[in-house]
């Protein structure tokens, strides 16, 4: 029954116009960034390299597809959670608002199976978003701008990565970014289990992200013990794959915390949904 309902979920997601908003918005954003970089990218890069040009000489194709993909990831990782929440926050509560949840739950399918089938559908949808972003950023970026060494400016300074040493980093970075986005998906599904309207879980998810991000950026000692446990602190840990050497221990910690949040949010969703009176 789980897989049959998961198949149903795919049919619903594919048929809903809002499912394509995320993909369309992502495509548009990336195309705009690619166009802007093609038109004025050298100027943009010179802002970053200017401070080093007195001590270093930059040769070759700095503005290459690898750097474009990094810039795109950096820019969009803030916006993609909204695109994910737009679909996943609607999965349970949207059906409650439509009345179809009442119809569905009179069928011989357990409530846990309903949540898990929606979770699987959300996971696949989020994966497609990440893959699409990866394709546009990396494949189209490389096709338009060519390949080359990747220059990344991080808190430790300038990191130069050989072009042959990059693809595996992107592969793992996309996987960790996917895990971070799944945390958003599970959070919005958990909110969705409490609500009977579509907009509430989406707004609540974004409110939590904003709140946690603000706490994470406030340089106040009272939050120091909290910050390492907020999932938003670890959402950008994909960036660590572009450090040299790669801080495997920190990445592993981030993965564990993100996984723990995923499990917690799914458990909350199942717990609430199993006990919920369907009055809509």
């Amino acid at each position: 029954m789980l897989w049959k309902n998961t198949y149903n979920e795919f049919i619903k997601i594919l048929a809903k116009p809002r499912s394509y908003i995320g993909l369309a918005a992502l495509t548009l954003l990336i195309l705009i960034i690619l166009f802007a970089m093609k038109a004025d990218g050298r100027m943009y890069i010179s802002f970053v390299t200017a401070s080093f040009e007195q001590t270093l000489s930059f040769n070759g194709n700095i503005l290459n597809g690898n750097l474009i993909a990094f810039i795109i990831l950096q820019m969009l990782i803030v916006h993609i959670p909204l695109l994910v929440a737009l679909v996943t926050g609607d999965l349970l509560s949207g059906e409650a608002a439509m009345g179809t949840l009442r119809m569905l739950l009179t069928k011989p399918i357990s409530r846990s199976q309903v949540v898990f089938s929606k979770l699987i559908a959300a996971a696949v949808y989020t994966f497609i978003l990440v893959i699409w972003m990866g394709f546009l950023a990396l494949v189209v970026g490389r096709w338009v701008f060519g390949t080359g060494d990747l220059i990344v400016l991080n808190s430790d300074g300038l990191v130069i990565l050989n072009y042959e040493d990059i693809l595996w980093r992107y592969g793992l970075a996309f996987l960790v970014a996917y895990l971070a986005l799944m945390t958003i998906a599970t959070l919005s599904i958990a909110f969705s289990a409490f609500a009977d309207n579509s907009i509430g879980p989406i707004v609540s998810t974004m409110a939590v992200i904003i709140l946690f991000t603000i706490i994470g950026t406030l340089d106040v000692s009272v939050f120091d013990h909290v910050k390492p446990w907020l999932f938003t602190t670890h959402m950008a840990s994909w960036r660590s794959f572009f450090s040299d050497p790669v801080p495997w221990s920190a990445i592993w910690d981030s993965i564990c915390i993100l996984l723990a949040h995923n499990i917690l949010f799914v458990a909350v969703a199942v717990f609430k949904f199993k006990r919920k009176d369907i009055t809509s």
Partner: protein, 305 residues
């Protein structure tokens, strides 16, 4: 004949916060019954129906369907139940066919494409199966709701207001459908409706609930016959004389002469035949003798008591 109980609801209670939606509802539905589930708005009908489909968990009471505890063997029970609660809602952005395919997939039975088309034909939606449900009229959605109810050949069918929004022809078709389900397939049907005339025409048993409690339960015919009925008598002439004779035969009955040709009285149904004979023997020419009691009167009497 021993009746096989399909549904047994005992001492059902449900609170929403401090609001007591269902205080004490009990009834039994037997196999093959068309069971009328009646009550005024806010009586607790919908909450009871939702409890029977495990949409709402009661605070107390027991629900057994097919002899099994609903909350222990939910999936096995629901695989044999088809239902519409309140109103049928569908995925408006999908076609009627896709909607039925979705519900068939989770119905617990293997429903073939042929069976889906046959069901669409049965409810008069064949030819509209590719249309999106968003463009359907209320009546068409109601028909589609009945179609999804029947897809997996359930033994028990729960229909909440199935004729709402249907035109007169549609109401007759649903009534015929319910009777066919009972007579040809021996299905058990629970029917809630505000159209009491419909219930009267199709139900053999019924329960009336009010303010969250069972008021009365039993056979429709017995419940109606057990009560006094309002008898309307029309004569060719001399209603005064007929009234005097009735008063002589049945002194406890109060007769009201409403015109020179008509009179009305409250009488137990079993006395009507005898009264008719006596009037004819006395030479009164009767044009019409019509028991006026309807389920509506009975319902109002029960729920206002």
């Amino acid at each position: 004949m021993e009746h096989q109980a399909i549904i047994e609801v005992k001492g059902l209670q449900k609170y929403f916060g401090s609001f007591e939606a269902v205080k004490n509802v009990s009834f039994t539905v037997n196999k093959g019954d068309v069971f009328g589930f009646l009550g005024p708005n806010g009586a607790g009908k919908s909450t009871t129906m939702r409890c029977m489909l495990s949409l709402i968990k009661p605070n107390a009471g027991d629900i057994r369907i097919f002899g099994k505890n609903l909350f222990e063997e939910r999936n096995a029970i629901l695989a044999k139940v088809g239902s519409i609660v309140e109103k049928p809602d569908f995925y408006k952005y999908l076609s009627a066919l896709k909607n039925l395919e979705i519900f068939a997939r989770v119905s617990g039975a293997q429903v073939s494409q042929k069976e889906i088309y046959e069901t669409l034909d049965f409810v008069g939606l064949l030819g509209r199966e590719k249309d999106k449900v968003g463009g359907f009229s209320h009546g068409m959605r109601q028909r589609l709701g009945i179609a999804q109810t029947l897809l997996h050949q359930p033994e028990l069918i729960i229909l909440d207001e199935p004729t709402t929004g249907l035109d007169p022809q549609g109401i007759i078709e649903v009534r015929d459908l319910i009777l066919r389900l009972k007579n040809e397939q021996n299905k058990t049907v629970i029917l809630s409706s505000h159209q009491l005339a419909e219930i009267e025409l199709v139900a053999n048993r019924m329960v009336i609930i009010n303010k969250g409690q069972t008021i009365i339960e039993g056979s429709v015919a017995e419940l109606m016959n057990a009560q006094e009925t309002l008898l309307h008598i029309e004569l060719v002439q001399n209603s005064q004389g007929a009234a005097a004779l009735i008063q002589e035969i049945l002194p406890q009955v109060k007769v009201q002469v409403s015109s020179p040709k008509t009179l009305e009285l409250s009488i137990e149904k079993k006395h009507i035949s005898n009264l008719n004979n006596k009037l004819v023997q006395a030479g009164f020419e009767i044009v019409a003798l019509e028991p006026k009691r309807k389920l509506e009167d009975f319902f109002i009497q029960m729920t206002q008591a």
